[in-house]
């Protein structure tokens, strides 16, 4: 199939989807209060933007997202790398990990509210927990999989301390695996953001729930689209960063 042909087909499918969506409420097959037609969305979006609510929600959610992501990934990668390099530490932590790891991220919500209240800190805590485990296991696995022969090269050229081996060989060799873990964490963290905001923490998710309670379904769609666009943007940027960092892999 040629490129133009597949592009045309893709566009055709997209507009068919929009048309069907528009038709369902227009012919009253589904009431517009339950399924807002796409033609109503630009107007709704404009109202949310001009009132300033959209941008405020976006900033709050992004702040929670990035804070949780930063804390969770730094702690997860650091502990994962340390555990991957030290058998002693791995044995020491093995039982604790076995107990804590199976707890689903959202099962922490009651404690998050108990400890932090309905507050951004609670959202950040939930995001951090989810991101932490993903990064921890990605780092642990990648460090353990580093080719022993390359570590011997570090030894042979006088880099004998654990710190030197970490910088010269282990971290760069483990980077591809750690980055894959980080990318998974990017998506996981968005889910945690939305979930914690649905529980009442301010942000895009909270505004979405308010709109839903008021049956303002067009506004709900605006926030769904906003989250999708943000996630898409962040994921695409990350993939670009990733391929730049790993440019040696061609």
């Amino acid at each position: 199939m040629t490129r133009t042909r597949s592009l045309t087909l893709g566009a055709l499918g997209f507009f068919a989807f929009l048309g069907l969506w528009e038709a369902l409420p227009a012919f009253n097959i589904v009431p517009a209060s339950v399924l807002p037609p796409p033609s109503a969305l630009p107007n709704a979006f404009w109202r949310e933007v001009t009132s300033g609510i959209w941008f405020a929600g976006l900033l709050t959610s992004l702040r929670n997202y990035l804070s949780g992501l930063a804390i969770g990934s730094v702690l997860g990668v650091a502990l994962g790398v340390a555990t991957g390099m030290s058998v002693t530490l791995e044995s020491f932590l093995s039982w604790v990990v076995r107990i804590l790891r199976p707890i689903p991220g959202l099962a922490w919500v009651p404690f998050a509210i108990l400890w932090f209240g309905i507050d951004p800190a609670a959202a950040i805590f939930i995001i951090t927990t989810g991101v932490f485990w993903i990064c921890y296991f990605a780092a642990l696995g990648s460090v353990r999989a580093v080719d022993r022969d390359l570590i011997e090269v570090a030894d042979a050229f006088g880099f004998r301390s654990a710190h030197q081996k970490l910088i010269k060989v282990i971290l760069p060799a483990a980077a591809p695996g750690i980055l894959i873990g980080l990318r998974t964490a990017l998506g996981q963290a968005w889910m945690a953001v939305v979930a914690s905001e649905i529980f009442g923490v301010p942000g895009l998710g909270q505004r979405m729930m308010q709109a839903s309670n008021l049956l303002a379904s067009d506004i709900v769609v605006i926030y769904m689209a906003t989250m999708a666009a943000l996630y898409g943007l962040i994921d695409t940027s990350f993939v670009m960063l990733q391929s730049w960092v790993l440019r040696w892999k061609r």
Partner: protein, 248 residues
């Protein structure tokens, strides 16, 4: 100057003791080219690691007198499988051993370029290891070892994984580099003809645990011929010492 006296090496793994080398005496004068022959698993690589200071001997004494001043490392290793760091370019791979903070980046790059020129690889600075052939990677690995200007060059079957023609040209490069730099070379190989072609002295290690079975000086003047008929009795003798298993 390398001096091994009664060197033995025993590995302990999962509560089991494996004796790899026993009672090895070896003296190597500076600038000598020594090749080490022996069947697989006899401890040739282990011997190199003892000389490199990567493994302390379990018995005896290993003295290695080599200078380590400024950026120089006393000893450098070349491995069979090149072992370049895949995330680094050729230039930064070659400069790897110079990253001890004693010299700046531009000087490091100059030394790396000089080492690349020495092994016949100028112009490859920006390549990544996966963009090169096995023979080219092995030249880069040799350059990485030469860049730290070691007194002693330890080579662990460095040409075993390349095709026959590349192997011969790498051997000739090494002979030329040895003649100009006067480094001490300890070269482990499976190939008797390679050992005899390259060395000032061939040593053979056999048995389990490995012991020194023979130490034979090669006085054939250089440049040498691979098919020198004068070497045939020596090759036959080494073949007999090593058993028929390594007749390459």
């Amino acid at each position: 100057m390398i001096s091994l006296r009664g060197v033995g090496l025993t590995f302990a793994r999962d509560g089991e003791q494996t004796e790899v080398l026993r009672d090895l005496d070896l003296d190597v004068a500076p600038g000598r080219f020594i090749t080490v022959l022996g069947p697989s698993g006899v401890g040739k690589s282990t011997l190199l690691r003892v000389i490199a200071g990567l493994l302390p001997p379990s018995a005896g004494e290993a003295k290695v007198n080599a200078r380590a001043e400024g950026f120089r490392l006393p000893v450098a290793l070349v491995f069979q499988d090149a072992r370049l760091l895949p995330w680094r370019t050729v230039l930064t791979n070659v400069g790897f051993g110079l990253e001890h903070g004693k010299i700046g980046q531009s000087e490091r790059h100059d030394k790396a370029r000089a080492a690349l020129a020495l092994v016949g690889m100028p112009g490859f600075e920006k390549r990544y290891p996966h963009e090169m052939s096995g023979g080219q990677r092995q030249r880069v690995a040799l350059a990485r070892a030469l860049a730290v200007d070691p007194d002693i060059l330890l080579m662990d079957e460095p040409f075993a994984a390349v095709d026959a023609l590349t192997r011969e040209s790498l051997q000739d490069e090494l002979v030329r580099i040895h003649a100009t730099t006067h480094k001490t070379v300890i070269f482990v190989t499976h190939s008797i003809t390679e050992a005899v072609y390259l060395a000032d002295e061939v040593i053979a290690i056999t048995g389990k645990p490995g012991r020194l079975a023979a130490s034979i000086p090669i006085d054939t003047p250089r440049p040498r011929r691979r098919d020198d008929p004068d070497n045939q009795p020596l090759i036959a003798r080494l073949r007999a010492i090593l058993g028929e298993e390594d007749s390459a």
